[in-house]
Amino acid sequence: MSAAPLLEIENLTLRFGQVEAAAGESLVLMPGEFVGIIGPNGAGKTTLLNLITGYLRPESGSIRFQGRPIVGLPPEVITGLGIGRSFQVPQLFASLPVLENVLIALATPCGGDRDAWTPMVTPARERTARALLGQFGLQEWTERPAAELPEGGRKLLDVALAAALRPKLLLLDEPTSGVSAEDKYPLMDTLVAVLEREGVTTAFVEHDMDVVRRYARRVVVLSEGRIIADGPPARVLDDGRGRGFLGG
């Protein structure tokens, strides 16, 4: 594994009025890591993802991806550099069939916003899309509009769309929220299996401590826009500070 960090965050700050959403966060992600980000509501977890992906712009601080500063770039450019992302509320093309969702995800990074001439649907691309849906266990739903998927399926498709980009870094925002208790582990098993096979560096925001304990290799704890703990799950989660902030 290479020693160069994939993502370096330094002294990130951002305020929403009186609330400090980021109060000088610094964080380094190495290639191949699988990191869980936890913290109470309003700790700035989603804000951190929004800052990295360019949806929000920090007031100060720097973000480097593979050594390149990315603050100020629009989301589509940052995505193009190799950072994929899923959302708390899945961001899908709800009225389009599931297969088309993935086909668009495959075609868009290859100049989909400028190519008005070559057909989007090629046999090769369609095979890739079906294979990806197979990996995520969505092969039964290919022809149905994404809006008809159950919540777990929507979450999976949301990640599948991000994964279709073959990102170097994948940021998942609460992949198991809104999913029933008995579906959580199968969903995470599916996700982790795919992502590990592809060797994608992953950071995921999560509320369920059991999920974090079971899947994360490293845990970062956020509170009021600060990183208050960072380390292996066993140490961080059993540490009193982490526990206290998570409300038990």
């Binding site: 989603t46 929004n50 949806y55 959302f87 708390q88 509320v89 961001q91 925002d173």
Partner: protein
């Protein structure tokens, strides 16, 4: 110096008229989130109703100044008839549907109302200019202005103040604000949403009609007078910020003064002023001067 005075007076008089014709549009958009293309038709409806009432009034040889009080009656009439009819009959079926379809619905309404007015009032012009000369003349900067122009300014100011008080001080106004903020939560809190919608739309319609009614004594009322008004009102409201009362006032003032300056100093540009102001403002502030950008939470 005197040219500046004239520009200022003309600008304010024109701004008063602009405010009257556009404030209803912004109110309706703010609450119902529907851009009412038929707004100009409601203005025309107000002008026709106002003229009809004025003609009836003068037929009875009553106190001439009383005619000025007949005009709000016309607005009220349009508000309580056309307002609920359009909102209940048509628009309520469109809530929550595609914005494009909402826009097209009001466009269809505009086409229908134009011909309905022709069927009701015919194609011959209506004149009701008697009130225009009733208030005497005022000389400002060497130029004579009719008192009526200042009545218009007064009515616009009064309307604006009354609306502001209504929205910010009355109980119903607070309900309206709640609905603007979040229709779903306000329903959960027991707000009668259909009632808020029908009252707001009728009020907006009445305001359009008020603008029309007070314009009636200045012009010959003929089919088609509403068409231009739509575009002008849109521009004013977009400059100020869609859905903002203060924005409508500010937009009207800016457009009014810029246009009046153009008429006096650069008549060739007069035609474009309204669009230039609109394009310029939107380039700098994409959602108008007094409207915040709504950021979507992820």
């Amino acid at each position: 110096m005197s040219t500046l005075t004239i520009i200022g007076v003309d600008g304010v008089v024109f701004a008063a008229w602009l405010f009257l014709i556009s404030v209803g549009l912004t109110l309706i958009y703010g609450v119902l989130r529907i851009l009412n293309i038929a707004h100009g038709s409601l203005y025309a409806l107000g002008a026709y109703t106002g003229a009809t009432l004025l003609l009836a009034y003068f037929r009875h040889d009553l106190w001439p100044l009383g005619s000025l009080a007949v005009l709000p009656l016309a607005a009220l009439l349009v508000g309580v008839t056309a307002g609920p009819l359009i909102e209940r009959g048509l628009l309520q079926r469109m809530y929550g549907r595609d914005e494009i379809l909402q826009l097209l619905t009001t466009y269809a309404l505009f086409l229908i109302l134009e011909d309905v007015m022709k069927l009701v009032w015919g194609t011959s012009p209506y004149y009701a200019y008697r009130p225009y000369g009733l208030l005497g003349q005022v000389s400002l900067g060497g130029v004579v202005y009719p008192g009526y122009s200042f009545l218009l300014v007064g009515i616009a100011a009064l309307t604006g103040a009354a609306l502001w008080a209504f929205v910010n001080r009355s109980r119903f106004g607070r309900l309206v604000v709640a609905v603007i903020h979040d229709p779903e939560i306000s329903v959960a809190m027991g707000v009668n949403l259909p009632r808020v919608y029908v009252v707001t739309f009728s009020l907006g319609a009445a305001l359009a009609a008020l603008g029309g009614a007070y314009t009636a004594p200045m012009i010959a009322i003929v089919p088609g007078i509403g068409v231009e008004v739509i575009v002008v009102a849109f521009a004013v409201v977009v400059v100020g910020g869609l859905g903002s009362l203060e924005g409508a006032a500010l937009g009207a003032l800016i457009v009014g003064v810029v246009r009046s300056a153009a008429v006096h100093l650069l008549p060739t540009l007069e035609l474009f002023t309204i669009y230039l102001v609109m394009a310029g403002v939107l380039l700098l502030r994409p959602y108008g001067l007094l409207a915040g950008e709504r950021v979507r939470r992820l």
